[in-house]
């Protein structure tokens, strides 16, 4: 039996590129079809009926028609527009960072239902008062899990002995933590404090709303961010583009606080 010509799916809009005069190519992340690309016709015109339902960072119910090359969006209805998130500069930037990671770590048509759930949960969490830095760390760690890069945080990746409560090392290349004795085997490892390791382990095992209630010092938060950033850079073999913007915002917040 041939596949139906029209179909409907839930989706989060994770990327858009301009096409022609008034069209866009959208990248949608869906629960059952994975990442798909589709053409949305006329959405750059002010009177487009679909444009508002197909903006970046929107959770929508999308109707599509199969095309020879790309599918075409025929209709769309917002499920959640994440309005609190979109009216805050920092939160929008955090959310853009999460969708960029999803876009980078997934292949077209590769179904990953839990990852869709994680992304949706994270965006809801960002709409609420919480420790958003930890929300991002939680998102990164669980993203690694779901795409097959779960870092080993329980035992040394080289000698497989349980880790001792001392400053160990995190090695992006080996995909986990090294004990001080195995330091020589991976030259690009960087130090990981006892507290940082504890938080990472804890994040791997709790749920998101618990995770983003934890209070940690700015120094520890920064350390965790650097560790994750190093691992991301190793896996993607490049920088995540939106981190530059996150840094700009943080820099600005710091100068404003000094004034």
């Amino acid at each position: 039996m041939s596949r139906p010509r029209n179909y409907q799916t839930e989706a989060i809009i994770i990327k858009k590129t301009k096409l022609g005069e008034a069209d866009r190519i959208l990248t949608l992340y869906t629960p059952h079809l994975g990442k798909i690309q589709a053409v949305a016709k006329g959405v750059r015109r002010p009177r487009s009926k679909m444009a508002g339902h197909l903006e970046l960072l929107t959770h929508s119910l999308v109707s599509l028609a199969r095309g020879r090359n790309l599918d075409t969006v025929t209709g769309s209805q917002t499920i959640d527009g994440f309005l609190p998130l979109k009216s805050d500069l920092a939160l929008t930037s955090y959310a853009l960072y999460t969708v960029e990671l999803v876009e980078q770590f997934t292949a077209d048509h590769d179904e990953n239902h839990p990852l869709f759930g994680l992304l949706l949960k994270t965006m809801h969490q960002l709409c609420q008062e919480a420790n958003h830095e930890l929300t991002l760390r939680y998102f990164e760690l669980h993203l690694f899990d779901l795409v097959g890069y779960r870092p080993q945080l329980r035992q040394c990746v080289a000698c497989h002995k349980p880790l001792k409560p001392v400053t160990n090392l995190f090695s992006p290349g080996a995909g986990g933590v090294l004990c001080p004795g195995c330091q020589q085997s991976q030259p690009l490892a960087h130090p990981l404090s006892v507290d940082a390791l504890k938080v990472l382990r804890w994040l791997q095992n709790v749920d998101l709303s618990t995770a983003s209630r934890l209070k940690i010092t700015p120094a520890l938060s920064h350390e965790l961010e650097l560790v994750m950033r190093g691992y991301l850079r190793h896996l993607l073999e490049r920088e995540v583009k939106s981190t530059t913007w996150l840094d700009t915002l943080r820099e600005q917040a710091r100068t404003n606080a000094l004034l």
Binding site: R47, K49, G52, E55, G81, L83, S87, L96, W245
Partner: protein, 203 residues
């Protein structure tokens, strides 16, 4: 590779090649346009050619507002009648055309030439914010109107500029976001409707 005889004159295939580089013009459209121009009166083609040449030679960016202009400063910045205490911030020079067409706005402009888009790696340094801040420090401006697009990038840019400009003691306003003229309510999205409700006005 042996040279096959060309099916048409070199001049024609050169034009086809160049037209093909334009956005939205594929090889067939390029061919159609090229042959249309070949058949058109010479007057029309030379007008087109000189318009193309002057496009680059006779335009520059206004040193004040960064709009595309023939003379520097542009005719809007040079116009004494315009309200110098208001600056309207837009993403593209084309946006000025649309706003001027309404005939309602009498202040000045500033063109950013883009919008902040973190996922494409476009940060604050890649749009013309520095020029704007230097201009605002002059102290003449009392109101800044943010007229960036109402999509995510435009909103982000507006929120960012608001953070930068408010500490200077300048009033920052944003174009109202609501229902466009001629739309049907049932198709409106949540964000637009929420904003339209928040910004409702007495008749």
């Amino acid at each position: 590779m042996n040279q096959e005889p060309k099916p048409t004159a070199d001049a024609v295939s050169r034009l086809i090649q160049e037209l093909n580089k334009l956005p939205g013009i594929g090889p067939k459209s390029a061919q159609r346009l090229a042959f249309h121009l070949l058949r058109a009166p010479e007057e029309q083609t030379s007008l087109l050619a000189s318009a193309l040449l002057s496009l680059k030679q006779e335009t520059k960016l206004c040193s004040v507002c960064l709009n595309v202009t023939g003379a520097d400063p542009c005719h809007i910045c040079a116009n004494e009648q315009r309200d110098r205490t208001k600056v309207c911030i837009v993403e593209q020079p084309q946006d000025i055309l649309a706003l001027e067409h309404t005939g309602v706005y009498t202040g000045l402009y500033h063109v950013l030439h883009g919008a902040i888009s973190p996922t494409e790696g476009i940060g604050a340094g890649d749009v013309r914010i520095k020029e704007l801040m230097a201009r605002l420090e002059g102290g003449l401006v009392s109101e800044v109107i943010l007229a960036t697009n109402t999509n995510l990038e435009g909103e982000q840019t507006a929120l960012y500029l608001n953070k930068l400009i408010t500490p200077l003691g300048i009033q920052v306003t944003r174009l109202a976001r609501g229902l466009p003229f001629g739309t049907e309510l049932e198709y409106a999205d949540d964000v637009t409707l929420t904003r339209a409700l928040e910004g409702r006005q007495e008749l």
